[in-house]
Structure formats: C-alpha cells, structure tokens
Symmetry: D2
Subunit: 305 residues, 4 copies
C-alpha cells in the first residue's frame, strides 16, 4: 500500500494480541480476529497499541505480531503499528522494523521514563519523522506517559509535515476540541479519538475517526456508528448529525459494513492491564471479557445517550 495515497479516517480498531496458554502470540487467533475486522468493514487496523499490549510483549513477540498482521491483511486496509518505547532512538529502532515489515503508518507516544519537556518532545517526533519514512501519528495518552501533548504543539508538528495526525486518549475533551479547531485547516491531518464512551460527540466535533477497543468483539456495531441511523429515537438523531457533519467523508466504502444500526455498547476504556509473568490469559475472549469487567460499570448494552 503506497503511503502517498493512503489517507486515514474512520474506524481503526486497536487490535488485541491473542496469546496461547504458554503466553506466546497466538497467530491463528490473531489472523481470525483480523479477518473479522476486515469483513466488518473497518477503515484500518492498529496493532501494538496499548490494547495490543505493546508494553507487555518482548521484541520478538512484537515482530511476530507485525509480520502476521501485515501478511494477513495484504493491503486491504492500512495497518498502523504502535512503536511505543522509552526514548527516541529506541522508537526509531522498532519503527524501522515496522517499516521493513510493510507498515502503512506508525504510532508513537512522547518519551517516557525519561524526564523531558515540551521542546524535547517536539524534537522527539521530528527525529522519528526524519529517520523513518512513514506517516507518523502522535499518541496522546497521559495516563501512561504522564505528560500531555498540547494542541498547539501537535498542530505545529502537523504544519511542518512531521505528523500525519493524532490518536487522542487523553480524556480531556476541551483539549480535544481545541485540537480539532486549531487543526481544521491542515490537509492530511487526521484526529482520532480513543474514547468509545464519547465517540459520537467526538465525531460530531469533527474527529476523523475512532480507535474503538470494543471493535475486537463487535466490529460490526462499531462500523455501524458511522451509518445513517434510522431516525427513530436518540441514537438515530445523534448519528444523523454525525453524518451530516462528516459529510462526504463518510462515503460508500464505509457504509458497506453490515451493522445492527445502533451503537451497542458504551463501555469505557479498560483502565487496567493485567498481564504479568504468571498471568497467561488463554485466548481473546477472556482478554476482552476481563477488559470489560475492569471498565467503568453500568454501560451495558444500551445505546449511548
């Protein structure tokens, strides 16, 4: 997939990494999961994000995930690869592996463990961009990295062509809207939300798309979030507005998905990962079930309101 023509928008699920009972990557399950996503009509796939447990996998396991995903997807949709690591040179090292494997884009956080400031963080992204010839997304996740990426810096990096967009998991709605407003004039700059609980509001504000963890279990419903609603009741109204707002961006390709016509689940972001050396979840199902249990309660299967 040529990077010149790739644009990024829509539903880009952060794919979980199924493990075997022995704690190794379960490539068969991973391929099945990827097929399910593509069949549901996702607009891209994001592997080795926080949901993909990038932080818990060894280098060898990370390479295995990337190769499996890119091989199996075969260019049907863009594959974005998380390259989160402590500092610039370490990120570049894994990003180069992702590029060689055929990734369509990379996703990186600010440095962590290192104690940096905003200027150094900007240099970090510029250095990655200079070293790795792939679209680069900045991943804003203060709950993990313990620093917040400011809209002003992100827009400046977009203007310079350093980043192709942002995946926002900050939970800061005011900042998110500021980012959308300030980046409104930038071409080829995509802003994704990582928060499913407020995904309709984010799309309404003008977000390019969403990175919904629950697509791992129900990608059809996630894709249906983009569909023209039936008009009856709240969700219909909400999503009519969403589509009105997003205009021609939400064209035919995205509507090929066969959803249930409503958003089924507003479960919040999983707040805790539980992968330790002696905890070896056996399969995807358990992983996702645990994640839901850990999430904020009370969001059941009802439509978002």
């Amino acid at each position: 997939m040529s990077t010149e023509t790739t644009t990024f928008s829509g539903i880009v699920p952060p794919i979980v990494t199924p493990l075997t009972l022995e704690g190794e990557v379960d490539t068969t399950s991973l391929e099945r999961l990827l097929s399910l996503q593509i069949e549901a009509g996702v607009d891209g796939l994001f592997v080795l994000g926080s949901s993909g447990e990038v932080g818990y996998l060894t280098d060898a396991q990370r390479a295995q995930v990337v190769q499996t995903a890119i091989g199996h997807v075969g260019g049907q949709v863009p594959v974005l690869v998380g390259v989160n690591d402590m500092t610039t040179n370490r990120v570049i090292a894994v990003a180069e592996q992702a590029r060689e494997a055929g990734a369509d884009a990379i996703v990186a956080t600010a440095p962590f463990y290192a104690i940096t400031d905003a200027a150094e963080t900007a240099t970090h992204f510029r250095s990655i961009h200079a070293a790795v010839d792939l679209p680069l997304f900045a991943y804003d996740v203060p709950v993990r990295v313990h620093s917040k990426l400011s809209p002003a810096m992100l827009v400046e990096l977009g203007r310079e062509g350093v980043i192709a967009g942002v995946k926002d998991s900050s939970g800061d709605d005011v900042s998110f809207r500021m980012l959308l407003r300030q980046s409104a004039g930038l071409e080829n700059f995509a802003v994704f939300t990582g928060h499913e609980v407020v995904v309709d509001g984010c799309l309404l504000m003008g977000a390019s798309g969403a990175v919904p963890g629950l697509a791992n279990v129900d990608p059809h419903a996630r894709c249906a979030g983009r569909r023209l609603g039936g008009g009856e009741g709240r969700a219909g109204s909400t999503h009519r507005s969403v589509l009105h707002r997003r205009g021609t961006d939400t064209g035919s390709r995205q509507c090929r998905c066969r959803g249930s016509g409503r958003i089924q689940d507003g479960s919040g972001p999983a707040r805790r990962h539980h992968r330790q050396h002696d905890v070896r979840p056996d399969a995807l199902a358990r992983r996702v079930r645990d994640r839901n249990d850990q999430g904020r309660s009370g969001t059941g299967g009802a439509p978002l309101t």
Copy 2:
C-alpha cells in the same frame, strides 16, 4: 421562591463579582450585571462560584454579594450560592448564612486542605444536607480541590436525596457521560457542565444545563445556544440535535431570549485567577478581558465546530 417547586436546568451563568478600585464589592455593577442576565433569559444565576472569586473574597464580601444578588433578583430566577470552604462545619456555617439570605440552592465542593477519602467526602455532603434545608449541588472541580467525585458516589447521593445535582467542571468527558447515564433514572437530579468549549456535546449527551462563564459578557448568545438553530451550516445542525434531544425541557420560556442565533465564542475555561492583595481590577470589563486572555488561545469569536 419556594424550594419545593424549583427545578434547575438550562443556562445558569456563574456571575463574576465586580470590584471597585479599592477592591471592595461594586454592588452597582453587580446589579447591572444581574439585570443583563435576567433580561437575556437565563434560567438561574450562580453567585460565589470560582468565577465569582469565592476563594478571594472575605466573609463580609461574600455576604454582601449574596444579599445584593438575592435582593436584586427578587425571585425572578433561582439564585444558587457557592459555599466553598475547607471542611464540613465551615461550609455549613456559610451555607446557613446563604439560606437566611434567601438562596434557592447551595453549591459545595468536596473538602480541601483537609486530607480526606471518598467515604469522608460522602459524609461531608450528607452532613451539609442534614444541617441546611436547601437543595445542595455537588461541585466537581479537581483542578482546585485535587480530588475527583466519582459518578457512582454522586448517583448514590442523588438517590438518597442528599444532592439535587452536580456542577461538573472536571474536564473528564468519559466520567461526565457515565454520570449522565447512571443518573438518568433519578428524578430532580440536574447535571450541569461548566465547560463552554464542549457545551453542545454535553447538552447532546443529556446534560440538564450549562454554567457558562462567558455569559457574563454575552448572555444572549449563551441562551441562544438552546434555541432552535436556523438550519444552515454546522451550528444549526448541532443545535437542532441538541434541542431534539432535550425535548420539552427547552420550552417556550427559554426561547424568549433574543440571541444572535449562534454560539459566538468557544473560549475555554479561564485557567488562572489573578486576584492578589495588591492587584485590584477596577471593573468587570477588565476582569473578563483578563480571563479571556488567560484562556486557551485560538477560540476567537467563531462558531464552535
């Protein structure tokens, strides 16, 4: 105004406290400001909030603000009074003064300076409710109080009849939506947002109303945020949805306001207060101008998008 029949919803501006050059409460300006709000059609008035500089005023000045406001408003709209102080008994002391002065409701944060936990915070609200016969709103403002009120606790307090609602200035959109969902079945429980930048999204989610600081300078536009938009362009679409969502709550009374038909300003919350002993802003205009300068930049006068 009888508290039995008072319901709380809609646009309830947090009124700033004009000061004279000598740093005393400028009651003439305060009355003018209150008249402007009522004329614009606000649904209530909130004095001695953070915007009202409750933290910077002495006890005597606070009493002056409350008496001036309640006397001038004369029951045309409900007056909510901020009773923020360090701990329970101190809050009760000022709340009793507010009740005697004729307040329609009181608004209190969790304890601060004190080091408390969630159970003690719940006891705090229960104790205030037991001591002061007025509707009590919980004010969630972690940037000042350094603790977050959980949706679960707020809903439980609502169920018990301890609080009549919440003013949310947490900036945590996921938590806000959870609060709305979990409190959806409660009667007489009003959830207000304090964030103007995302006010349309919050109303769309089901918020009872907003507490918009910029209503101090342009209350008509704030009220217009509730109006059925003209249909052209984004704002129209947004606000049509908002009104569709809010249904009969947004009835005739609210539509009597004469707004410009669009939200004029998306300026973020003022992040800093600058009242020190030797800094005596002379009038409302300067106060509000400073506040805007301190806010997040780039939100000009354009419609929210």
Copy 3:
C-alpha cells in the same frame, strides 16, 4: 512578649485542639495541655496548625483557641498562630485577629483552592507581611496545598524581611537541605521541620528546630531530643552530634526539661484527619490515639535508628 526580641528555635509543638463531646473547643483540656508543654520546657507553642485542625474549626472556634492559648501561656513562651486560609485577603483577615489577640508570630501556607503560580505565591507572602505587623512563617505542606515552596523563593523572602522562617512539612529532604544551605547566611531566619521521623537528621543538617506532633502526648521526650545524650548507643551518638552542631543555641534553658534521655517514638506524621460533622472525638486522648493509629506503622516506642 515583644516581637523585637523574640527569636524562634527549638521544640515548638503543634498543639492539638481538644473538643468536647458536642464538638466544641474544650478550653479546660486545652489549658491543661498547654501547661504540660510549658512544664516540659518547650521553646514555643504553635496553635491552629494542621495538627490543631485549623481546617476543621469555624472562625468562632479558631478565635476561641487563640484567645485561650495566649491568655493561658501568658508570655512564658512565644505562641505562633496558624492563619491558613484560601487566599491573601482571607489570611490577612484572620491574621489581624491573631495579632489583636496577642500572637507572637503567624504561620501561613501558599494560597490553595485558588490556582496560582510561584510569583503570585511570593506576592501573597509579601502582602500578608505588609498588612500584619508580626513575624510571618511560611508553611510548606504540599500534601495539603498541592504546591511546593521553592528554597530559592523562601530565601529571597527571608532576605527581604518578609518571612521570619519556614515550617517545612514537605517531606522532600533534598529541598530541605538546600533551604538550610541557601539560608545559612540569613539572620533571624528559622527553619523548622515538621517531620518527626527524621527530626534528628534535620537538626543535624542545621534546622533551627522541630514542630513535633507527638509532643502533645509526650513533650518531655521531645525536649529530650535536644539534650546531650548519655553516650551509650546510637541515639546518644546522634544527639551528641546534634548538639555539637547546634552549638550555643542549645543552651541551659532547653536542658531544664526532664526527659527520658532518649527519643521514644518515631511515629510518622499523621496522614489523615477524621473530623467530620458527625464525628466528634470526645477528648485529647482519643484524638492522639487515633492519630497514632493512622500513622505509618512499625515505629513503636523504640529509639530512632
């Protein structure tokens, strides 16, 4: 007690505020407690600190504590009064009451609830100093106030004559030593530690004194911390060094106390206050016992090592 000749050093216990079963100030118990302290040889008394529950008392109760303490002590030792409140003008209001009641010094934190920066915090202390003719101590307690006072700012305020010293409850040992080093050349600048667990180390570094909460139950042992140890074992060695370091400051008056010759208790600072509207501890004993229970465990009655 004339402020011109008052110097501040040594053991200055932060006096708890005994309450009756009804939650009112138990002035009889308070006077007994003050007598016990003076008899034990304390160098000063600090009322309405965090241990004195300044945050939990109403204005009327605060006034009662100050008047009782100053009347009962009768100038035998200096009485320092905590004037913690949210912002400058409110602090000045209570500080003026303390001055009128005869306080020898006042102790104030940075503003809280208000969102300030370092420059505003410096202005805060300068404004208090300009308004209230009493020695002013800066109280550094980030766990409550959520900002840290920098050594550089404190030393500058000392150089200007704005503050007479610092009560450090920051728990940041590196910062504490920097403050001691940078203020070493200042006359009439006293640095107290609020941390009993490390009090010997702090005195060894050159602290002017300590504000030990446990003096409320055992002031003799606290005063004995200043005494020339017997030479046997660790504590003796420690305190010989302490006295060697403190030189002539630790003169005859301080040695009149009749301690056990060793530090009996290394219990940490009470981390939690538990005064709520419906929690009315009946007496000093229970208060102090609770405080100990809440402290860090495992510090028993053994000497500090």
Copy 4:
C-alpha cells in the same frame, strides 16, 4: 565473582555512558572511567542506571555497555546492571542477557507505561527473581516510574528472598527511614540512597551505602565520605558520627581510598536528561558539566552542612 559470597554496601557509583560524537558508546572512555572508579576504591559499580542513560540506549548499545564493563572490571568489584524496561517479560529478557554477560546483580524498577497496582508490582519482582538467578535490587524512582514502592512491600519481598535490597531515589526521607527501620532485622538486605545531597544523613540513619552520580567526576571524594573526618568543623563531626554509626561495616577496605577528607560537592540529582536523537554530547566531561548545570543551584563546592 560468585554471587553466594557477594555482599553489597558502600559507594556504588552509577556510571555514566560516554558517547562518541556519532552517538555510539565510547568504550575507551567507558573503560577509563571504570578504572578511575576502581582506583578510587569504590565498593561496586552500577551500569545502565538512569545516570547511565539506560532509557536512551538501544538494546545493542546496552549490551555493549554491559559487556565492556564486566570485561574491564574483571571481578575486582561487583557490577550491578540496570534492566529497566516497561514490563516483566521485557525486564526478564534483558536481565537474562545481563546474567549471561556475567553481571553480579540486576536492578529493576516497577513496571511503567503499564498501569499496575501494588500487588502486580510485587508479582513483577517475584517473576523476575524466579526467572533470573541473580541478586535483584528494587529501584524506587517515582519521578520516572510514577509509582512509589512502599516500605512494607519492599520488606516483604526482602523477607521472601525475592530482592537483595533497594536503591532509593524517591526523595521521600520519611519513607526511607521507615524502610531502614522495618528492614533492620533482615540479613543480606542492602538499602542504598541515590540522593547525594542528603547522603550523610542517610548513612547516619543506617543506609548500607550510596549510589552517587558525582563519583563519575570525583570518585575519591565520594569514597572519602566514608572516611573518618579530621575532626575540625561540621563535616568532620558529621562523618565521625556516620562512621560511628556504621560500625564495622566501614572497615579497612573502604578506607584505602585516597580522598580529600571532605565531601566536596552537595550538588543535587540531575533533574533532566537531554539525550535526543539530534543531541549528541561528545564526551563525558560535557555530560557531567551539563548535569551539574541542570541541578539545583547554590551547592557549589562547599562542604555539606
């Protein structure tokens, strides 16, 4: 060096990693630096700590540092290797490399980037210990990892034989003393401080040793911190006490170092690292100079007081 007989105490400098102009590991300079340390009489060497820029080096560079250090030191003193990484399995992977290269001990933080709790952190250390047959030190550095290791957990892990000790860079003096007290009865449990500014106080409290970054430039003075002082003035008194306290632990071997007889520098910990992709410091000297410039000011060359 057999791990059965290795004990850990005294001065264990965290060795910086010299880089060439091209940003590669300057092994010649590294060897010179190691020789300087051994000649000065250090009790151990710690490579790939935060000072060694573990977070900024690629895996290949880390391996180069470990192999160079272990080969050059040749068993004259123990070599401890930092194995900081995001999560358990990743730590184990690098720890196994360190063990194969001949490390005498490994030093690991709690997980970071991952969102864990105390129970998971304990499991993390237990899993590392189970997988890697080397003494394991827990590295407590909240400013980087954003969680604090509690004394209770560390003592429990020591009791189980999971960890051989702690390197404390928390800056929390109360917690540090609690750790020392609670671990006093444990055999083969070494507690090191990473804070040079308060190193004498920490040794006085009973710390097993120090990990002083400035030993990189002046190891003799660092070692002299253990020596019997000359008796004149404060430092002499301080260090006499220190040695008195440490008793036979500070025996003949440690005193072979040829220091200046006083601690020359109280510079605080470098608060910031400045290694970015396009910032390639040319040599050790510049690195250390920068670090000092970034440190807390005003600590010049005077003895600690």
